[in-house]
Symmetry: C2
Subunit: 306 residues, 2 copies
Amino acid sequence: MENLINKNILNEIDNADKIYNGVHNIRSNGKSISRVTSDNVEIISKENNSGLIVNVKNNVMGVTVHIPVILTNEDFTDTVNNTINIGESSDVVLIAGCGVHNSGINKTVHDGVHEIKVHKGAKLKYIEKHYAEGTSVSKKIFNTKTYIEVYEDATLEIELVQIKGVDSSEKYTNIILHDNAHLVITERIFTELYQEVTSNINIEMVGKNSSAQIVSRSVAKDNSKQIFYFNLDGKNKCSGHIECDSIIMNNAKVTSVPALSASNEDAELIHEAAIGKIASEQILKLMSLGLTEEEAQDTILKGFLK
Amino acid sequence: MENLINKNILNEIDNADKIYNGVHNIRSNGKSISRVTSDNVEIISKENNSGLIVNVKNNVMGVTVHIPVILTNEDFTDTVNNTINIGESSDVVLIAGCGVHNSGINKTVHDGVHEIKVHKGAKLKYIEKHYAEGTSVSKKIFNTKTYIEVYEDATLEIELVQIKGVDSSEKYTNIILHDNAHLVITERIFTELYQEVTSNINIEMVGKNSSAQIVSRSVAKDNSKQIFYFNLDGKNKCSGHIECDSIIMNNAKVTSVPALSASNEDAELIHEAAIGKIASEQILKLMSLGLTEEEAQDTILKGFLK
């Protein structure tokens, strides 16, 4: 039973088979339960199971590192503090999701801190999915703090996904871009019931010719609440683009606060945001093809969050 | 000499001839120096010259009310607290600029508070221009707080302009829109040298079918600083659109923080912002027509702020 739950959770936030067949560390209820390393990727436990040090050597190509976190204990807070180094000129994928199963009545809390350095010329794709399941009365809480430094000529692609079951979430992401560093962030958030999420993304473009692109899409249903802060700070010749779209339904509340700040005459910053409902024409079109109104809505929302 | 200065200032923030030939109150260094009222427009001084009560009756059409403020004393702070009522179904223009001439070395401060009620079905065009001149060492400081309520079926058009000479400015504008109330704001700001401006526009769309459109354009040169806060809060079926463009030059700093907040599923809010420099093709094109680089820049900036 425990193994089935774990497998299900791993598949929601990553892919169980790929995890076990690849370089990985699985943390379950605060302890490492499985680890595979390689010549190119070192994974070291910090003191008292407080987190991992992941070192990817220089010039490592095509490796995916999986460091999922599972929580199935209730009335439990797991604080994880990971330090990750992506070596110069490497090109790797890091998947660091967290999944919670709480079948009780108390709360489960994931507090995740990541410090990531993407060294000179390296390329990192960082994927972080949050998923929770269990009873409707138990609270599943996810808080993350992510501090990333992207060095010269390096590229970082981030996918932040929170699709299901998370009652409360505070995400703080701070990224510093050096000369010619490039960043693409894709954020997808869905909330329903009384769920609440706050996402704060702060990007400092200190490097010459650095660039950042953020695309954030969210759907807020029922009585859920979403707050987005984006801060794009251009301190050098750089370009930045934020695009955030939210669909609001029922009694949900969405606040989007993007800040553009330029202190260099060669900084070019653009922001576009929209909050609105699903276009009724889209729903009518799908209904004319035989879908019920609810099916039409679901189809549109899935496409929007894809 | 004093009269020439006054006339020049009045022409910068309004039109001296039109002021004297129309319904007006001119406040100079804290006191009313000229007033003309009409059957339809009442202008009353508050106690201790602390400001005006302007009452436009119901169904008044095509009247322009001028309430300029002039400051030519240095080391002087003029605090003005005006209360303005636009009667039901009236259609009027209100011009409430402030001009400062400071030929000394100390500071001149204008602290203006406006409370405006645009009653049912009325239409108001509200123009507020800020202008300062004098020695380069004296400080000309303009702070404004404007609280506006736009009632059912009423329309408000606002022009906020600060083009020249203002060293420091904090503008706070709060607007509440009731059922079917409509708002258009045009903001134009130019700063140079070490000038600083903070503009905070807060719009609450509490009424059904209310709408708001904000177009803000600014140019920041030299070492000047501009901070813009926009807050568009959709609490009912409503639509809102913010568009802010800033041109940044030299060592200037521009921060733009627009917040969209929707708590109704029929609220549709959009925001677009851009901070960047003048497109070099535009400059080259004008230079190919015989303009110097500086002339080309000036031409483009004037067009942008028009």
